[in-house]
Amino acid sequence: MSAPTTDVRSLTYVQAFNEAVRQCMEADDSVFCAGEDVGAFGGVFGSFAGLQARFGERRVVDTPISEQAIIGLGVGSAVSGLRPIVDIMFMDFLLVALDQVVNQAAKLKYMFGGKATLPLTITTAGGAGRSAAAQHSQSLEAILCHVPGLKVVYPSNAYDMKGLMVSCIREDNPTVMVKHKRLLGAKGPVPEECYAIPLGVAEVKRPGRDVTVVAFGRMVDESMRAAKRLAEDGIEVEVIDPRTLQPLDTATIVESAKRTNRIVVVHEAVRFGGLGAEIAAQIQEEAFDYLDAPVGRVAAPFSPVPFSPVLEQAYLPDADRIAAAVRSTLQRA
């Protein structure tokens, strides 16, 4: 399932998020939202704009600055039969509440011998590029993907945002939906009807025969930009957006790697221990005999995110670095 080419009205990434929440709340009274400033104010990124006016304070709840209790609110109400959407403003703040996410939400069903379902959606915002410095810019998805019991979704565009968010809300497992802060205003065609994009299904954003680039979140745009430039030199790059990071659609990635024989994984998180490591490990396990070059990784260097824009720019992967990595992968005999 991928974005319609026929012209539908276009929405921003955050409007698509908002519409998914609104339509799911209209369809199911057990769905509610809670978080800091999500009520009257509509969320610091406007993600929840208009929802309290539409659904009232019962279903759109302003909470104290208490991330552990916010996740606990979600866990306890989900196991009691509701479908909470709880918001953690910045992904960095998940670290304040990780016990509730990892030790409670993710493990509860298993610890109960399967005798529980936890239809909980945790929404948050990740990524750098806004000079928000070390504690408001992190990409921590690799930590979440290492946790059995969680699902992790990271949309790269407005269309996917709506469809994936609908799936998260309907999902019967704890899911973390990560918005990228620099994509909030990105516009794209978004159908009005309430559609779902299944979790765990990657999308080939661009077919190509020479090399495969795997990227998610904002890095999809950078990869497409790199691919466009490389195409001018006759290099055909296949760009794959996993969209869901856990479970990961390894099959689609491996199938592509077996065709192109060369693959580069891109992410904003630091390289050491990032999702690129897992993807590289799986590809070399499953496509070893097909690879003409090592799986390349383009990622942030091993440091906190710096404040100064010149440093942050030097820190973040971009189309140039992706293109360079692709070229060096191709140079490998």
């Binding site: 039969g81 109960f112 399967g114 019991g149």
Partner: protein, 325 residues
């Protein structure tokens, strides 16, 4: 006014069942028949019993690492409990949770918890669901004195008050967190001093007097059901055994005298003396309760021992729910 004989019989029965289950578990642990950690509730029976006597299966509770008593008081059956402690497939959690994660959603027991303080935020979520559905149910969070020093407790207590949820916070103040006395970890003596900081009423009750616990909990739970918001109930109590395991004397962090003094106030004996004195129950009533409990325990142990171990093929089952919609 005094509880009726039926209520007293019920309170007695809950306490006796907890005592019998815990002592049996302790014996099995000494016989190396129980894997993992074992945190016994012996000595604190009046707290869970006095509170849970007010709750139906539709009301929800969250528990702690010391959770058997809460499940028994909430109606837990010995057979699947004992099977769970033995890691058998017939346990409440199919052997996947064990003592520290024992739970029963049908009984509204949202799990023992291995993380100190982590149950309270979950109770807030359960209380939120009660209010959301306006179904008159409540949520009760049980937790220890030591856990009130951790952030999760604070956030839960404040959020429950801010959202005026039907929640009751029940502190089992047994004066120790593991092997360290309360005096080393907080500058206050009474946990109830924390209630005002959240804007909820707080009351101290003798945690060895099940009738007193029953009365105080009744008011707090009625308040919650009436939509008047959360309360804190601090029960002064004591664990007769070590933090985990069954040793009770010769512990380096507390004196045998202290243990002996508290044992003087064994909550079950206190209730039995009282009901016999005022004639509300007869010795025969009490004996029958003990006999029933012992029979249930014997059956439960037999059941658990005869039960199969989980099939290793089920290792990866139950990590995720198959989503159908």
């Amino acid at each position: 006014m005094d509880p009726t004989p039926d209520v007293l019989r019920d309170l007695h029965r809950r306490m006796v069942r907890i005592r019998l289950f815990e002592e049996a578990a302790g014996r099995l642990a000494e016989a190396a028949k129980l894997p993992g950690f074992l945190h016994l509730y012996v000595g604190e029976e009046a707290v869970a019993s006095g509170v849970c006597a007010h709750l139906s299966d539709a009301d929800r509770i969250t528990s702690t690492h010391r959770g058997h008593g809460h499940l028994v008081a909430k109606g837990g059956r010995f057979a699947p409990m004992m099977a769970e402690l033995m890691g058998k497939a017939t346990g409440y959690c199919n052997g996947k949770g064990g003592s520290m994660h024992i739970s029963s959603l049908e009984l509204g027991m949202l799990g023992a918890n291995g993380i100190v303080g982590a149950g309270s935020p979950i109770a807030v979520g359960a209380a939120f669901a009660s209010k959301y559905r306006a179904d008159g149910t409540v949520a009760v969070a049980f937790f220890g004195d030591g856990s009130t020093n951790i952030g999760a407790f604070h956030e839960a207590a404040n959020m429950a008050c801010a959202l005026k949820l039907p929640a009751v916070f029940v502190c089992e103040n047994n004066e120790y967190g593991e092997f360290t006395p309360r005096s080393k970890t907080m500058a206050i003596t009474d946990i109830v001093d924390r209630a005002a900081g959240y804007g909820m009423p707080g009351v101290i009750v003798d945690g060895m007097d099940v009738v007193a616990v029953h009365e105080a909990a009744g008011e707090a739970i009625a308040r919650a059901r009436a939509g008047e918001g959360p309360s804190l109930v601090e029960a002064k109590t004591y664990r007769f055994f070590n933090h985990h395991g069954v040793q009770n004397l010769g512990l380096k962090y507390r004196s045998d005298d202290e243990v002996a003094q508290w044992r003087q106030r064994d909550p079950i004996s206190l209730l039995e003396q009282r009901v016999l004195a005022d004639g509300s129950l007869s010795q025969a009533d009490l004996d029958a309760t003990w006999a029933d409990g012992r029979a249930e325990i014997d059956d439960a142990i037999a059941f658990a021992e005869a039960s199969p171990l989980p099939d290793p093929a089920t290792l990866l089952a139950d990590v995720y729910t198959e989503t159908l919609r």
